[in-house]
C-alpha cells in the first residue's frame, strides 16, 4: 500500500471528502436563499422546494431514456424548474399580495414538504423504493485523485460540487461587481431609496425569489442524483432548514456560504465516520451543533458592532408598499 492511499484512508480525509458531498446541497440551497434574502424576501419554504426538486429530478432520472449526461442535465434542470415554480407562489403572495413572509414560507414548506406535495408526487409517480438509473459519479480531475489529502477531497468529486464552486464565484462577482447585483442589495437594504432611483423593486424581488427556488430545487436534486441515489419521503432530512441557518451563519455572503456549508456538511458526516472508526459518539450532539452555532452567530451579528458590518439586509421580511413609504 502506497503512502498516498494510507493517508487518504484516514478519518480526516474521509470526513473532508464527505463534508464536501453533504455540504453541496446545503451550498446550492443556501446560495439561493441568500439571493432571495439579499433582495429582502425571507423564504422559509426551502425544505419544501428542495424536496420537490429532489422528487422531480428523480422522476426524470427514472423516465427519460438517454445517455447519462443528458438525463442528469435534464434532471437538474427539472429540479430547478420545479423549485422556481414553487417559489413563484411565495413571491406572488409576499410581493404582490403583501402577505406575511414567515407564514407564507412555512405554508410553502408544509404544502411541498415531507407530508405534502413531494410525498404525493413520489407516490403518484411511483418513485418510492426504486433504484436510480443514473447518478453523478466522482470525476478524477487531471488524474489527481490519488494525491495525498487534496486528491480525494478536491480532485475527486462529482460535477455538482464543481458547479457549486463556479456558482459561488459567479454570485460573488454578481453581488459586488455588477449593476444588477448592486441593485439587488439596494432593494434589500432600502427599497424606498431603490424605488426612487428607478429600480423596479417588485421585479427584482420576483426574479431573486425565483432564482432562490431554482437553486433550492437543485440542492434537493443532489440527494436523489448523488448522495442517496433514490427517493424516499423526506429524503433531504431537514437540509432546507440548515440552509436557512447557513445563510445567517455566513453573514449573507456567498463566499462564506462555502465555508459554512462544508463545516455543516462535515458535522453531519462526522458522527458516521467516527462510528465507522470505532469511536463512541453521541450523534445528537453533532447533529444539533449547526443549529446551536447558528444561534450563537446570530446573537453575535445582532448586537453592536456586528449589526452594521455583518447584519441582515435591513428590509428583510418587510413588504414594500410604495404608497406607504
Amino acid at each position: 500500500m502506497s503512502v498516498a492511499s494510507t493517508v487518504n484512508d484516514t478519518l480526516l480525509v474521509s470526513v473532508l471528502h464527505q463534508a464536501l458531498i453533504y455540504g453541496t446541497p446545503l451550498l446550492f440551497a443556501a446560495l439561493g436563499e441568500l439571493l432571495a434574502e439579499r433582495s429582502g424576501v425571507l423564504n422559509l419554504g426551502v425544505e419544501g422546494m428542495m424536496l420537490v426538486g429532489a422528487v422531480m429530478a428523480f422522476w426524470v432520472d427514472q423516465r427519460v431514456h438517454a445517455s447519462t449526461e443528458v438525463v442528469l442535465v435534464l434532471a437538474v434542470g427539472m429540479a430547478a424548474l420545479s423549485g422556481a415554480i414553487l417559489s413563484l407562489i411565495h413571491a406572488f403572495l409576499v410581493v404582490t399580495m403583501r402577505a406575511n413572509q414567515i407564514v407564507s414560507g412555512l405554508a410553502l414548506s408544509i404544502f411541498a414538504g415531507a407530508l405534502g406535495l413531494s410525498s404525493y408526487l413520489g407516490n403518484d409517480l411511483s418513485l418510492t423504493d426504486v433504484p436510480g438509473n443514473h447518478q453523478f459519479q466522482d470525476i478524477n480531475v487531471f488524474g489527481l485523485a490519488d494525491v495525498p489529502v487534496v486528491g480525494p477531497v478536491i480532485f475527486n468529486q462529482s460535477a455538482l460540487v464543481y458547479a457549486s464552486w463556479a456558482l459561488t464565484v459567479v454570485l460573488v462577482i454578481y453581488l459586488t461587481r455588477t449593476r444588477w447585483g448592486l441593485n439587488v442589495r439596494a432593494v434589500g437594504e432600502a427599497p424606498d431609496a431603490a424605488d426612487a432611483m428607478g429600480i423596479n423593486v417588485a421585479r427584482y424581488r420576483y426574479v431573486h425569489v425565483l432564482l432562490g427556488g431554482a437553486l433550492a430545487g437543485v440542492g434537493g436534486a443532489c440527494f436523489t442524483l448523488a448522495i442517496v441515489g433514490n427517493w424516499s419521503a423526506g429524503v433531504t432530512g431537514g437540509a432546507g432548514w440548515i440552509a436557512i441557518a447557513l445563510v445567517i451563519f455566513a453573514f449573507w455572503r456567498p463566499e462564506l456560504c462555502v465555508v459554512g456549508a462544508y463545516l455543516f456538511g462535515g458535522l453531519s458526516a462526522l458522527p458516521f465516520a467516527l462510528q465507522g472508526h470505532g469511536y463512541n459518539v453521541t450523534p445528537e450532539f453533532w447533529s444539533a451543533l449547526p443549529y446551536v452555532a447558528t444561534i450563537a452567530v446570530l446573537v453575535l451579528v445582532s448586537s453592536g458592532w456586528g449589526r452594521k458590518r455583518l447584519g441582515a439586509p435591513a428590509a428583510l421580511g418587510v413588504p414594500y408598499v410604495r404608497e406607504e413609504r
Partner: protein
C-alpha cells in the same frame, strides 16, 4: 386604467368572516383541479374525507385526538403572533413540555393521587415549554436577535435532546429495568394515575370521547381572550406590538411584556406536550419518526393564521384541520395518496393569505392617479419589525 390597491380605512367585520370562508371554498376548488389532473374524482375524495373526519363510527373521537395538539400549538402561535412576536418554536416547546410532564409524572410515581399528578404534569409541561420559549425571548429583548430564526433553530435542538434522552443516554426518562429495554431503547411507561381522564358523550356507536387536553385548550382560549382583550397587560402588549417606541415613551416596560408573551406562548405549547403524554402516548415518545414527524408546531402556525389569531377561531380551525388530518390518516391508500393532507393544508393557507389582502386593502380599477390612503390603524399582520 390601472389596478389600484389601497389600504382600507376601516376593515368591515363581515369581511373578516367572509374572506376566510371564501378562501377555503376557493382552496377546495383548486384542490379539486389538482385531484382531477392526477386522475382522482374530487367529489368522491371530498365525500370520503368528510365521512371519515366527522361522520363514520368513531371518526369524531379520532378527530378530537388529532385536533388536541393543534389547538395548543395554534393558540401558542396566536398568542405570540397577535403581539407581533414571531415565535415559531412551538414545535420544540411542545417537546420540552412533554419531557417536563413525563418527568414529573415518573417522579411522583404510582402512589400519588391522580388529580395531583395531572395537575403537576400541566404545570411542569407549561414551565418547561415556557423556559424553552424564553430562550429566543431573552435573546430578542437583550441582544436584539431575530426570534424567527432562533426559535426555529431551537426546534431542532429540542428534537435532538428528546431523541438523546431515550436513545443515546441513560437518562431518568429511559426504561433500563430489563435487558431487553436496554438493547431496544424505550421510555419508562406511565402508571395509570398519570393517564388523563376523558369526557365521554353518548353511548354505543354514536359515542364521542373528548380528551381532557382538548377541554384544557378551550379553557386556555377563553383565558387568552380575557387576557388580551380585557386586561391592562393585554392592552400594553398590543401597543408594544404596534410600536415599541410609542410604548416606551408611554412608560411601558417593553422587555418584560415581550418576555411574558414568549413565556405564555411557550407555556401553552408545553401544555400541549403534556397533553400528548397524559392523554395519548402515556410515555415519552422520543422516536424520531413519532412525535417529531407530526409537525404539530408548524401546523399550529397554519391553524393560527387561518384563525386570524383569534383564540376561538383558532379552536374551530384546529378542530377542522384535525378532522382533515384524521381523515387523511384513515383514508391513506390508493384513492388517497399520502401527502394530500399537506397539499390541502398548504393550498388552504395560500388562499387565506391571499384573501388577507382583501380584508386589509381595497382592490379597484381606477383611471386617475393613485390617492395615498391615510393609515388609520396598523394592520394586524405585518412583516418582521
Amino acid at each position: 386604467m390601472t389596478l389600484q390597491i389601497e389600504r382600507r380605512l376601516q376593515q368591515p367585520r363581515w369581511l373578516s368572516v367572509a374572506v376566510p370562508i371564501g378562501s377555503i371554498a376557493f382552496a377546495f376548488l383548486v384542490m379539486a383541479a389538482v385531484l382531477g389532473v392526477t386522475g382522482h374524482d374530487p367529489l368522491h375524495v371530498y365525500r370520503d374525507l368528510f365521512d371519515s373526519a366527522f361522520i363514520a363510527e368513531g371518526a369524531l373521537t379520532q378527530t378530537f385526538v388529532a385536533a388536541t395538539p393543534l389547538l395548543f400549538t395554534g393558540l401558542a402561535a396566536a398568542a405570540a403572533f397577535r403581539m407581533q412576536v414571531w415565535n415559531i418554536g412551538a414545535e420544540g416547546q411542545l417537546y420540552c413540555g412533554a419531557i417536563g410532564a413525563a418527568g414529573v409524572a415518573l417522579q411522583l410515581g404510582p402512589d400519588a393521587s391522580s388529580p395531583l399528578v395531572i395537575f403537576a404534569m400541566v404545570i411542569c409541561g407549561a414551565a418547561a415549554g415556557a423556559v424553552w420559549g424564553l430562550i429566543p425571548g431573552v435573546l430578542k429583548t437583550f441582544a436584539r436577535t431575530n426570534e424567527i430564526i432562533t426559535s426555529l433553530m431551537l426546534n431542532y435542538v429540542a428534537g435532538y435532546i428528546l431523541t438523546w434522552l431515550i436513545f443515546d443516554s441513560a437518562s431518568y426518562w429511559r426504561d433500563l429495568s430489563s435487558i431487553q429495554a436496554r438493547s431496544f431503547p424505550q421510555a419508562k411507561p406511565m402508571t395509570e394515575n398519570a393517564f388523563w381522564p376523558t369526557l365521554d358523550l353518548g353511548s354505543g356507536t354514536s359515542s364521542v370521547v373528548i380528551p381532557l387536553g382538548f377541554l384544557i385548550a378551550i379553557g386556555i382560549a377563553v383565558l387568552l381572550h380575557v387576557l388580551y382583550k380585557h386586561t391592562k397587560f393585554g392592552f400594553e402588549v398590543q401597543v408594544i406590538g404596534d410600536s415599541t417606541r410609542a410604548a416606551r415613551y408611554a412608560g411601558m416596560r417593553t422587555r418584560r411584556k415581550i418576555l411574558a408573551v414568549f413565556a405564555i406562548s411557550g407555556g401553552i405549547a408545553g401544555i400541549g406536550g403534556a397533553s400528548q403524554v397524559g392523554d395519548f402516548s402515556h410515555t415519552l415518545d422520543a422516536d424520531p419518526n413519532g412525535l417529531q414527524k407530526s409537525y404539530y408546531g408548524y401546523t399550529g402556525i397554519v391553524v393560527a393564521a387561518l384563525g386570524r389569531y383569534n383564540p376561538f377561531a383558532v379552536c374551530l380551525v384546529g378542530f377542522l384541520i384535525g378532522g382533515l388530518q384524521n381523515a387523511g390518516f384513515t383514508l391513506q391508500g390508493a384513492d388517497f395518496p399520502s401527502g394530500l393532507v399537506g397539499v390541502m393544508q398548504g393550498i388552504i393557507l395560500f388562499c387565506a393569505l391571499g384573501g388577507e389582502l382583501l380584508i386589509r386593502y381595497r382592490v379597484r380599477w381606477s383611471s386617475d392617479a393613485p390617492v395615498a390612503a391615510e393609515e388609520v390603524q396598523p394592520a394586524s399582520v405585518e412583516g418582521v419589525p
